[in-house]
């Protein structure tokens, strides 16, 4: 499949910290999940791909455009929708005015067409009824949807979402999941998240980052498969387990290297993720 995004050898240092270390990837249409612990470099990678910050080394293209040139950067930005981790707003703007402002910044200059587009994206994120309400009067989940609408305006081919569900209640998260799934139809979405269930439910592909490098690149099923035969239950906490916790039934769920004859359990994506972070499989799977 033709990649929307193709990156090679991206590296970036912040002082003495290597935030990105020789990251290469290819993204194709659909939702790709980006998992990793805090400080893994997820946000840095997203900001580099969103042209918000330049990499020290390496290069990438978005829809064939190279952002290392001024013209290429403009083209990348035309193809881009970006939802940052902590989107800020001008609080006195209404939802409509704010998305309209972003639309103007994205060069949608024709007033009638722009307003039609703004109404479309606000309807898409289910904010059509509150579009005239000031942002400072909206709930956290609604503000997040305003930010998503701002990212979607102009129908970008590449959508970068940095932890969009953080701080949302379960109902809002489910709603957001629907929106992301819808947004991923026909475009390339890179979704950074801590929620493994979001990845399991939304993504056709998952990247796991740690210490600025990609530790895993494959399908959610392949990541889950990494934990096959390595999750077991026991009545006591198993001393050799990489991770283990008492479940609601009173038994322990252990992840790691099981003892002979252990009562093996069906692994989840989270188990595969934990084992990947533990260094059990640092090679790239796909």
């Amino acid at each position: 499949m033709i990649p929307t995004v193709s990156a090679s050898g991206l590296s970036l240092r912040y002082g003495g910290t290597r935030a990105l270390d020789d990251v290469s990837l290819r993204l194709t249409p659909g939702v790709t999940g980006l998992l990793g612990p805090n400080g893994a470099g997820k946000t840095t990678l997203l900001r580099v791909l969103a042209t918000a910050v330049p990499a020290d080394r390496g290069a990438f293209t978005v829809l064939g455009h190279d952002p290392s040139t001024s013209r290429g950067r403009q083209e990348v930005r035309r193809a881009l929708g970006y939802l940052p981790q902590s989107p800020g707003f001008h609080p006195d703007f209404t939802a409509f005015e704010f998305v309209d402002y972003v639309a103007i910044l994205k060069e949608l200059t024709d007033r009638t067409a722009r307003h039609r587009e703004v109404r479309r994206v606000l309807e898409e994120v289910d904010l059509g009824d509150v579009r005239g309400r000031r942002i400072k009067k909206l709930s956290g989940g609604m503000r997040q949807r305003v930010a998503l609408a701002a990212a979607l305006v102009g129908d970008p081919g590449f959508l970068v979402l940095d932890e969009p569900t953080v701080g949302l209640d379960p109902e809002q998260r489910m709603r957001f999941r629907e929106l992301i799934a819808h947004a991923g139809e026909g475009r390339t979405v890179l979704l950074s998240t801590h929620q493994t269930e979001d990845v399991a439910m939304l993504c056709h592909r998952v990247l796991v980052m740690a210490a600025g490098t990609i530790r895993f690149d494959g399908t959610p099923a392949e990541l889950t498969e990494r934990a096959a035969g390595r999750v077991w239950s026991s009545t006591e906490r198993a001393p050799g387990a990489k991770a283990g916790w008492r479940t609601g039934t009173g038994t322990f769920r252990n992840v790691g290297d099981p003892p002979p004859g252990a009562d093996l359990l069906e692994p989840t994506l989270e188990d595969g993720y934990l084992l990947t972070l533990d260094g059990a499989g640092a090679e790239v799977a796909a």
Binding site: I2, P3, T4, S6, A7, S8, G9, A50, T51, A52, V53, P54, A55, D56, R57, G58, A59, F60, T61, L63, G64, D66, P67, S68, R73, Q74, R77, R78, L80, Y82, L83, P84, Q85, S86, P87, G88, F89, H90, P91, D92, F93, E97, F98, D100, Y101, V102, I104, L105, K106, E107, T109, R111, A147, A150, A151
Partner: protein, 228 residues
């Protein structure tokens, strides 16, 4: 260029609403109060006092302008096609007439017999205000902080308080009108203004220049157009 013109036309209304008018307005009002103080107290016009009150008023107005480049939506609006430099220029263009009117009003509040030479004091005010804007631009350029205004205002205020104390006698900027160093001081003020403008201009581009280095480092043939 045509696109930029079109965007800036559509942008004016929206950008006008992003200007932190409260901070700018507060600076303007307090500045006028400072300069109008002797009038309110019915004091005798004193040239030395009038000069320093005008300096104080310019500083207060500059503190309000230190918030001009604050952009709570900065992170969201960084990767857009309209350059930040254009948005910043629009904000300044929108505030410039207000600043000119305000300064005219401030000067009008000073009785004519106590008013310092207009050109010289206007140069001082312009340098002070531009210095605050340059500091704000520097903060935007060097940090990810969307609203650096409070820190910038604190830095400008501290600098303004320390400068008269720390500058050597021969480099003094804050001299009275009848001081023989008046002309030389205003040459230095012109230097401050020029320096501030240069810093401000240098801070205009978004931090993407380093990307030029990448061309040397890019692995040959690593990337191409999709399908290539």
């Amino acid at each position: 260029m045509g696109a930029v013109r079109g965007v800036s036309g559509a942008l004016v209304g929206a950008v006008a609403r992003t200007v932190p008018w409260r901070a700018v307005g507060a600076g303007a009002v307090v500045g006028l109060l400072v300069v109008g103080l002797p009038r309110m107290l019915s004091g005798e016009p004193d040239p030395w006092l009038a000069l320093n009150l005008l300096r104080g008023a310019a500083l207060v107005f500059a503190l309000g302008l230190a918030f001009l480049l604050d952009d709570p939506a900065r992170e969201l609006t960084t990767p857009v096609t309209t350059p930040r430099r254009l948005r910043t220029s629009l904000r300044v263009a929108l505030v410039a007439p207000v600043a000119a009117l305000w300064w005219t009003a401030a000067l009008a509040l000073v009785p004519e017999e106590a008013r310092p030479p207009l050109g010289a004091i206007t140069l001082e005010a312009a340098a002070t205000v531009t210095l605050a804007l340059a500091a704000a631009a520097l903060a935007v350029r060097l940090t990810d902080e969307p609203e650096p205004g409070p820190s910038v205002a604190a830095a400008v205020l501290t600098t303004a308080c320390l400068t008269p104390l720390l500058l050597p006698f021969h480099w003094d900027l804050f001299v009275p009108v009848d001081d023989p160093r008046w002309d030389a001081a205003h040459q230095r003020w012109a230097g401050v203004l020029a320096g501030a403008v240069l810093v401000w201009a240098a801070c205009g581009p978004e931090p993407l220049r380093r990307r030029r280095v990448l061309r040397r480092d890019r692995p040959a043939g690593a990337l191409g157009r999709p399908g290539a």
